[in-house]
Symmetry: C2
Subunit: 235 residues, 2 copies
């Protein structure tokens, strides 16, 4: 009768994931199984399983007999990440140009226009960020290649813990929107090569900006984060 579709380990994994994304667990923070278990009111077993999963996802690093640590990306790796992501998104855009349905293109246009509207009316920057993310995701999904989508998502996930550092200056916002405009135009016009090159450079630049920002502000920013913890997470 009592049907359990989602296991406890899954619940814990999602919980830890979101704590990493919302910044409760900062990159570099170490997690101790027993404490997590106590905090979530379960035994260590499902916690361990959740951690194992997150390790494979790349969000957590861990070596034998040592406690798990939220993955910390050094600037070099972060750059590699964005470079790889930009190539992947470029490939996706290339394929999407010829594979997206009319409805999908329309959906993308709707998002793009909503973003433009947000800029014109000086709407919530947070909403703009969401629209931007939806735009990228829409393009990637448009390629209809499950593996490519999955892989892109996988890489995007690993950047997520650092996205919160991103601050968009008015100049960057405008450039961002202009890039998106070029991309969607290329897709609609059926120019796959331009779509690929534009989104590729665009994503790379985004990453570059984020990297520079982190390099400059990291220490200060970390200390100022709400509920941020540098060392051990406290109950």
């Amino acid at each position: 009768m009592t049907e359990r579709e989602t296991t406890q380990a899954d619940t814990i994994r999602l919980a830890i994931e979101s704590e990493i994304f919302n910044g409760s667990l900062v990159p570099g923070a170490s997690m101790e199984e027993g404490r997590l278990a106590a905090r979530f009111g379960v035994s260590r077993t499902p916690v361990r399983e959740a951690i194992t999963q997150l390790v494979q996802a790349g969000l957590i690093s861990k070596s034998a007999h040592r406690r798990a640590v939220v993955s910390e990306l050094d600037p070099g790796t972060l750059l590699d990440l964005f470079e790889a992501l930009s190539e992947l998104e470029g490939s996706a855009a290339f394929l999407s140009t010829t594979r997206m349905s009319r409805a999908e293109k329309q959906h993308l246009l709707t998002i793009h226009e909503a973003a433009a509207d947000n800029l014109r009316t000086q709407g919530d920057p947070n909403d703009y960020a969401k629209l931007g993310s939806a735009f990228h995701h829409g393009i990637v999904r448009g390629c209809h290649n499950t593996i490519l989508i999955e892989t892109t998502d996988w890489l995007s996930l690993r950047v997520l813990p650092y996205r919160r550092f991103q601050v968009m200056t008015p100049g960057r916002l405008k450039k961002n929107q202009a890039d998106h405009d070029t991309i969607i135009s290329a897709i609609v016009a059926g120019d796959a090569d331009v779509a690929r090159e534009t989104i590729q450079r665009h994503t790379l630049e985004q990453g570059d900006a984020l990297m520079r920002f982190i390099a400059l502000n990291k220490t200060k920013a970390v200390d100022r984060l709400p509920r941020a913890v540098n060392e051990e997470y406290s109950v």
Copy 2:
């Protein structure tokens, strides 16, 4: 005193992995934790951990309260896999063209020539396959982007269980070698675009050939595999 650098779960994971690769565990075969545990002489705990890891790696599929199954790729997904892989290798080749050291290029040439020699002297086809794999891997490593390398390896891993189906006809061998020749020439000449396009198309064609072969011979081939099991793995 007794130092344990590799945990039992790791050992088990590697063991299962290699059984998947060498065909003892065929895609679609279901694995039962208790039996695996007994077979490896450990408790279920490390086996479960190994399985969790392999699930995240994509080699095994599993849903709650159901036993784990060696991932089975339908033709469509397999095609997607090769398409994604071809894009990734294309990107890597593009970057490698400008980033490979002289020594790395030399190493690649050595491999390529050994392969050519193998063809001329009608050497062991198995050796030729290994050289081909080393060639691809060498190009990917040449891009010096950890994430891109890691991601490419990740996708390659998922194809591995199906590589054993691959049979190279003399015609394919020659074409394969010619492609490799074009690629290495482009890299040495510094023509990144040609390198990208060539290896991209090359990998895609490889995948296509493999797919067709599997589609034609799968059922028969599976039954003929040494130590192959269709249903449950028996102790």
